[in-house]
Structure formats: C-alpha cells, structure tokens
C-alpha cells in the first residue's frame, strides 16, 4: 500500500514543483507536499523510513516463508513415514491372508480326511483340492465357497480398519509416489528450494488475497479446505509454468495481479490430469475418493493428499461429491482382498510356502548336555517343564533342567549340569519314554532286559541331595533280551525287545504285563526294532529288523495290518492326528504308511546314512530325523521337504546320532549322540 501511494505522490510532485515556496511548514504537514517541493525532493528520513519499512516487510515475509517451509517439510516427512507404515501394514495383511489360507488348507486336509477316512496321500496337501471339489458333489463346492466367505468375513473383522488404512496408503503412495516423484521432484531438481518455497508461499498468499478481494468463496474465510485446494492447485500450476517465469522478487506486484488467474485457469486442467491419473491408477478407489476428501478435512496433516483426492473427486464426480462412498467402501476393500486371494489360486501355494520359508524359525543349538561317559542312546522331554531325561550306554539316566544352566566359556551355548543321575541298570540303557503329564515318571529299557519305572525328582532338586531310594519304581523283567524301544500313552507302556516280542504294560499294576505281541506267522520271529502306540493307544505299530511293519490291535493282540519292505527298520512313529505311520530305515529312507490301507504313501531318501531317530512335533506338522551321517534334519510334513539341517554330533565307531526329540509343549528340539552329548536347540 505504501509504495503505490509514494509513487503516486512523486508523480504528483512534478506538478506541485512548479509552485513556489510553502516550505517546511507544509512538509511537516504533509509528506507528499514536502517531497515534491524540491523537485524530486526525497528527504533522507523519508527514504530511510521507506527502506526500513520495506525491509521489515520483507523480513516478515521471509520469516513467514520459513515457517511455512518448515511446516511443509514436516508434512512431507510425516507423509513419507505414513507411507512406510502403510506399506508395512499391507505386508502384514498379506501375510495374514497367507496364514489364513494355510489354515484353510489344513482344514481342508482334515475335512478330507474325515470324509474319506483315508486320504492325505495328498498328504502332500499342497496342490490342494483342485480336483477334489471338482469330482465330488457340488455340496462340497458350496462348502468350499462358504469357507472362503467365512475367511473373507474374518478378514473383514480383523482387518477392517486395516483395509481402510490400506486403501489410504495406496492413495497416499500413489499421490506421493507417482505425482510427487514425477512432478515435485523434477522441479526440485531444477529449482533451488528457497525459491520454490517462496513461490509456493506467494501463491498461497495471493490465493488467499484473491479470495478476499474477489470474494469468490463465500465468507472469504481461510478455511482448511480452501487453503489446501488453493495450495495444491498452486503447487501444481506453479510447477508447470514456473519454468517460464524469470521474474525476480521485485515483480511481486505483477505476480499479485496475474497469478490468481493463471492459477485458477491452470487448476482446472491440472486437476483434470491429476484426476485421470488417479482414477486410472486406482480404478476402484473412485468411490472412496469422496470419503478420502472428507478425511483430508478431518486430518489437516494429510491435507496434501486429501485435498488432491478431493479435487479429483470434485472433477470426476462434479460437485456431487456427496456420500456415495460409505456403502461401497467395504466391498471395495474386500474386493481388493478377494482379488488377492482369488489371484492366489493358481500359484498361491508356492507363494505361501515361499512366504512361510521366510517367516520360518530356524533352530539353533543352545544347550549342550555333557555329563555322560558314553553314547547317549535316547532322550525324552518332560511333558511340561523345560527339562529332559537322557539315557546312556554308561548305564545311567540323567535328568536335566534347562533353566538351571552354567554359563559356558564359549558364548555359543550354555552348559547344563544334570540334576539327577538314575542308577539301577546294569547295562547300557537303550530306550526311554516319558510318562503322562503330572505323573512325574519315566521309563527306561536297557540291554539288561529290564524296564524300569522312575519317579522323577522335582526339577528343583539338588544334584547332591541324599540318595532317595523312592526314585526307583517298579521293575518289569519279563523281557529276556535287550529292550530297544519304549512308548508310553494313556497310562500304558509298549516295549519292543530283541527277544522277539513287543509287550504292553500297565507299569504300576500288580500284574503289569497286559499283552505280548508276537508275529505269529513267522517261524522264527524277527526281532522288533521299535514300537509306538497308534490310534489313541488302541493299536501298536511295531517295526522289525527284517523291515516289516505290523499293526496290532491291542484288544485282540492280533496283527491287523502287515506291510513289508526290504530294508531293516530302526524306528516307527505314529502321526499325532492322522492315520499315518512314519518309519526310519537303514537304507537311508523315511517311509510314510497309510495306517488303514497299509499303502506306502511316500518314501524318501532322507539322509546320507542309516536313519536312526524320528520324532514328530505335537501338531504333526514337522518331522525330525537323525542319522549316522551326523546330521539332524527337520522336515515339513506337508511338503516333505527338508527345512533345516543341523550337524550335531561326532562319530564314535560308525555311530553318530542315536535319537531326536520334540518337546511336547515348548519350542525345544534335542538330539542325542554316540559322542556322549545331548544337544538342545531352540
């Protein structure tokens, strides 16, 4: 305001200059009159005043710009942060979907199993019921769809807010990632930041002025929406023709006059482009744009995106940017997700498994259990505690509490000292079984032909407590040769001995021997190598040195299933939930048997040497195997692929790993070796 007046006055001054006199008195009265009196008669104080004034004004503006710039920078940082957050969120969601799909897969397998009793020779559940739903009646298909619907519902429940965020993140990413990268960053490269911000700020200011002057928006109030629309419009417009503008700061006035028109004129086109781009890119987002605009209002921080979105919607849907969104919102979000899952169909399982791979835990050796003088033949975890029992060829068993460790010298692992040493066997102890939870007992079988029942000392016991004979329970002496395998379930004990029999016991009963299982058909009974309960302890699976596998019904004591293979078997385990028997063989194979039909469901070369140890995790998803090739391998039962290999023990003679085990509750696995060590992995 001051400049123009001064100028005006100066022009007038020529006129006045002609007049004579009226000197100081006038100049005091009126500056205008004073200046002209000397014909271009600027008084020093006047000039100073003017300059001072201008200076102050510029300073003020500058500080204002600075403030605004800081604000913008903060905003950018925030948006960038948000974008990252959203990306993480999305990843998480995708993972969740994968998990749910996996669960669905498992369910399908289970359902299948229940339905056909047998199944799961697609035990490689993997390329799942593409066929099954096709062949069987449509009822199944419906059910399948139902399941999908259910999962969608779950997703909706779980991820409701997440999906919104996801949509938003998409938008933000698109606006920031695409527009900003293309349009903002280029100008950034071309123009010095200060200048850019200065211009930006000017735009805003002038926009605001325009509004006030022209009274274009009703009320002429600087409301958030107005500002942000102006602002972004200005930004985009500005970037466009900034290149043409070579003006410097002195031409502010001109700018003041021109800019608004340009801005508003350009705005239309720009935004049109904008909208198109956005719409093309996020086809499905259109409905939510209005909503997004609303959000922009609610959260001033996301003004940039919000307002752009609102522009887009304004252009796209005209002024009718009403509440079209709300209802469509969910289908939209789910639509996206559904698309995800549907598109997963063909190759999803690979993706899922690949994903799983990356999220899978790897086991690392943590505890080394050294105290046995000779090879550790067997080990078994406590049913609940972080404790285990090992059985060794040094004739003893030892109880270990993993929570009482001795810091080892090497940082790699912890040494554990045994809590208790069980002495009673007079020969190497060969096998071990843990009793039921809370029974606090374990059973061991030895080369001496005895099976001993032990009462476990409390895990807090001191290794140097006085000897308590009550630790020794009953002794079962019916076997006449080495006892090589023990399994306990439902209060009963199953043993396999080199005397050619497998026996079932009620270990603490007055007459403990319940049944003797013998292969009646063989003239000279082959020696059983291992035995395990199957089918909720109603059956017993016994493998023999000659490679045969017999399934005995424990009611009748008769063999109900007989399969054979060429290679001597060393171990047998029954799957905790499915009617599958897993056997380990000297020919390096692990074989999977259908416990109903007796069909060999799968056979694989699992190791480089005889397989000696087998353990299934309590959920039946993983299989652990040990071998004389010194390695422990973890297998995904689903895909029958090895997911981890651990070299764990050294050789003594030609033996290496003798047993492996899973903790029934806790995340521990363990291996026992001929080198006298046991190792626990977490």
């Amino acid at each position: 305001m001051k400049i123009p007046t001064a100028m005006d006055d100066s022009s007038v001054s020529h006129h006045n200059g002609g007049q004579v006199g009226s000197q100081i008195g006038v100049s005091v009265n009126n500056k205008q009159n004073d200046e002209p009196s000397q014909s271009v008669q600027y008084s020093i104080p006047g000039i100073l005043h003017f300059i001072q004034h201008e200076w102050a004004r510029f300073e003020l503006e500058r500080s204002q710009w600075e403030v605004d710039r800081a604000e913008f920078e903060a905003r950018i940082a925030f948006l960038e942060g948000e974008r990252k957050g959203q990306e993480n969120l999305k990843n998480d969601l995708v993972r969740r979907i994968k998990m749910l799909e996996y669960a669905l897969k498992q369910e399908r397998a289970k359902f299948h199993k229940l339905k056909y009793g047998v199944e799961l020779q697609q035990g490689d559940v993997r390329p799942p019921p593409k066929e099954p739903p096709a062949e069987p009646e449509p009822a199944e298909r419906a059910q399948w769809k139902q399941g999908r619907q259910l999962i969608k519902q779950y997703l909706q429940e779980i991820g409701y807010t997440d999906t919104i965020l996801d949509v938003r993140s998409n938008r933000v990413r698109n606006l920031l990632g695409l527009n900003n990268e293309e349009q903002v960053e280029d100008p950034y490269r071309n123009y010095d930041k200060n200048e850019l911000y200065g211009l930006l700020q000017r735009e805003i200011r002038t926009g605001g002025k325009e509004q006030r002057k022209g009274g274009v928006p009703p009320g002429g109030v600087y409301n958030e929406e107005g500002l942000s629309v102006q602002e972004t419009a200005a930004v985009f417009a500005n970037f466009e023709f900034l290149a043409n503008q070579e003006m410097d700061m002195d031409e502010i006035d001109d700018l003041d006059a021109k800019q608004p028109h340009h801005a508003s004129g350009k705005q239309g086109e720009e935004v049109d482009h904008e909208a198109e781009e956005v719409l093309n890119e996020l086809n499905m987002l259109t409905e939510s744009e209005a909503d997004g605009g609303g959000q922009g209002d609610e959260y001033p921080v996301v003004k940039l995106s919000g307002s752009t979105a609102s522009q887009a919607s304004a252009v796209a849907a005209g002024a009718a940017a009403g509440g079209a969104g709300e209802a469509d919102e969910e289908p939209l979000a789910l639509g996206e997700l559904a698309q995800l899952t549907v598109s997963n169909e063909p190759e999803a399982y690979d993706v899922a498994s690949a994903n799983k791979e990356s999220f899978r835990k790897t086991w690392n050796a943590k505890y080394t259990l050294r105290s046995h003088f000779d090879g550790v033949r067997a080990l078994a975890f406590h049913p609940t505690e972080a404790a285990l029992v090992t059985a060794s060829e040094d004739h003893t068993l030892k109880l270990w509490n993993l929570q009482r460790t001795v810091p080892a010298k090497k940082s790699a692992g912890l040494d554990v000292e045994p809590l208790y040493t069980f002495r009673a066997h007079t020969a190497p102890v060969l096998c071990l079984a843990m009793g039921a939870p809370r029974s606090e007992e374990c059973f061991s079988g030895g080369l001496d032909g005895t099976i001993r029942v032990w009462n476990l000392p409390a895990p807090t016991a001191d290794p140097y407590d006085p000897y308590d004979p009550a630790v020794q329970g009953p002794v079962l002496r019916d076997h006449t040769d080495a006892v090589w395998s023990l399994a306990a379930s439902h209060g009963r004990l199953l043993s396999a001995s080199a005397d050619g029999t497998a026996r079932v016991w009620a270990p603490r009963a007055p007459r403990p021997l319940l049944a003797t299982l013998r292969d009646e058909q063989a003239a000279t009974p082959p020696a059983p190598a291992a035995a395990d309960f199957a089918d909720a302890a109603s059956r017993a699976a016994v493998v023999y040195r000659d490679g045969s596998l017999l399934l005995y019904d424990l009611e009748t004591g008769q063999a109900v299933l007989r399969v054979s293979c060429d290679s001597a078997a060393t171990r047998v385990r029954s799957h905790p939930t499915l009617p599958i028997l897993v056997t380990a063989h000297e020919d390096r194979h692990i074989r999977f048997w259908d416990a109903v039909s007796g069909r060999c469901a799968h056979a694989m070369v699992a190791h480089l040497d005889a397989v000696t140890g087998l353990a299934l995790d309590p959920n039946g998803l993983f299989l652990l195997s040990g071998s004389h090739d010194c390695s422990v391998r973890l297998w995904n039962l689903d895909t029958k692929t090895c997911v981890q290999e651990i070299t764990a023990h050294r050789k003594k003679f030609d033996e290496s790993i003798l047993d492996v085990a899973f903790h029934p509750l806790r995340p521990y696995i363990a291996s026992a070796g001929a080198d006298g060590l046991a190792k626990v992995f977490v």
Binding site: F373, P418, T421, P469, P526
Partner: protein, 224 residues
C-alpha cells in the same frame, strides 16, 4: 576306512544283548574319530577285561594326558556298576559315614563345605562330581588334547574314587568280590594309578588283589 563298506560298527536297534558291540576290532591307527582313545580302550576291555597289561598299554604317539583322562572316564563309568550294587545294600542307616578302615572318615567334597555324607551318598556324589568335572567344558573342552593344569585335576578324582573301592572292600565284601570278578576294575584301577603314579602308594590301602589267592580277611592297617 577300508573295511567300512563291509563292517559297520554299529549297534542296530533290535540286536541281541550278546551281539552288543560285537564287531571286529578296529586297529587304533585306523580310528579317525575324535573319540579314538575311548574306542580303543573299550575295545581292548571288551576283548579281555582281565588283561590289564593290554588294556593299559598306551599306543605309541599317544598323548599321555588324554590317555589317562580317557581311562579315568572309563573307570568312573564302570564304577556306576558298583554304585548300583551298593545302592541295594549300603544304607544310610548302616553306613552313616564314608569309612574304609575304622581309622578314616572321608568328607564329601561335593558340597560347599565338605560334610560327612553317608557312604552311599558319598559314593553317588563323588561319581556325579567326577562326571561333572571330567565333562567340564572349562577343564576338558577337548578329548584330543588336554591342558597340563587339567591333567593335574585327575589326581584328586582318582583319590576320591579309590575310596569307593575301599569302602566296598571293607564293608560290602561280597558285592565287591562279585563285581571285581566280573570287571577286574579295582585291580585295573590300582594298576593304573600305580603305573602312572597318580596316587601315592601309602594311600592305596587295599591289599594286593589276586585272583588265585583271594584275601579273606580285611587287613586293618592304615597309613597314619
């Protein structure tokens, strides 16, 4: 291993007790395992537990520390057998203290402050403590080479372990004799500690054991 294809020295599940570890001997030179010394010692013992000369004849170029260490491990392991037998007869009520002859009461060193454990506890604690020490990662991290300072630890283990023999000899003679007949363990132990001068002679209070003329009455003399 040249014969590795034919002979796999393994105890396969299901094998009979009499076949346990019944495989052709492997020459010590061909053992390439880190546990070669243990394998060799066990192999020689299995061949003839009474042949002390053969059992304690150290192969050439064998580190003596490891040799002694592995033998002591084997002793402690086999002593479990004696402890198992003693558990049935040696009660805290009857053998309230660890004594050999009437002159000596041994204090159990497994506790923070040594204390008078009953004989059976002393036996168990000593064996447990020996198992801990001999498997200690600190003193015996390797079974291929052993520090000189750790070899020095073997002496105290031997001294304590010897007391188990002497207690059994003087107080549970029938058990001792039956066990000795089977394993020749005490004889081997005495031979071992004498050969390598691990325990001074005067501590060896048991009379010289001889199969042909078993000593029927305990000799009550002691060293101090």
């Amino acid at each position: 291993m040249a014969d590795g294809v034919q002979v796999l020295r393994r105890n396969r599940p299901g094998s009979k007790a009499k076949d346990f570890c019944r495989w052709p001997d492997e020459p010590f030179e061909e053992m390439d395992s880190t546990l070669a010394v243990q394998q060799f010692i066990q192999q020689t013992i299995r061949r003839d537990p009474a042949n002390l000369e053969a059992i304690l004849k150290m192969p050439e170029a064998q580190d003596e520390g490891v040799w002694k260490y592995e033998h002591l491990r084997q002793f402690c392991m086999e002593l479990n057998g004696l402890a198992v037998r003693l558990q049935s007869e040696c009660k805290p009520e009857t053998c309230t203290q660890m004594t050999a002859t009437e002159q000596w009461i041994f204090l159990c060193a497994a506790h923070k402050t040594p204390k008078e454990c009953p004989a059976i506890d002393y036996t168990r604690h000593t064996l447990d403590g020996a198992a801990c020490l001999l498997n200690s990662n600190k003193y015996f991290p390797s079974r291929v080479s052993i520090k000189e300072s750790s070899v020095a630890k073997l002496g105290s283990v031997c001294r304590r372990v010897y007391r188990i023999f002497s207690h059994a000899y003087f107080h549970h003679r029938s058990i001792f004799d039956a066990f000795e007949k089977e394993t020749h363990l005490c004889k081997r132990f005495t031979y071992f500690v004498t050969k390598y001068s691990i325990i001074s002679k005067e501590i060896l209070i048991l009379p010289k054991l001889d199969d042909e003329t078993p000593i029927t009455q305990p000799v009550g003399e002691s060293e101090a």
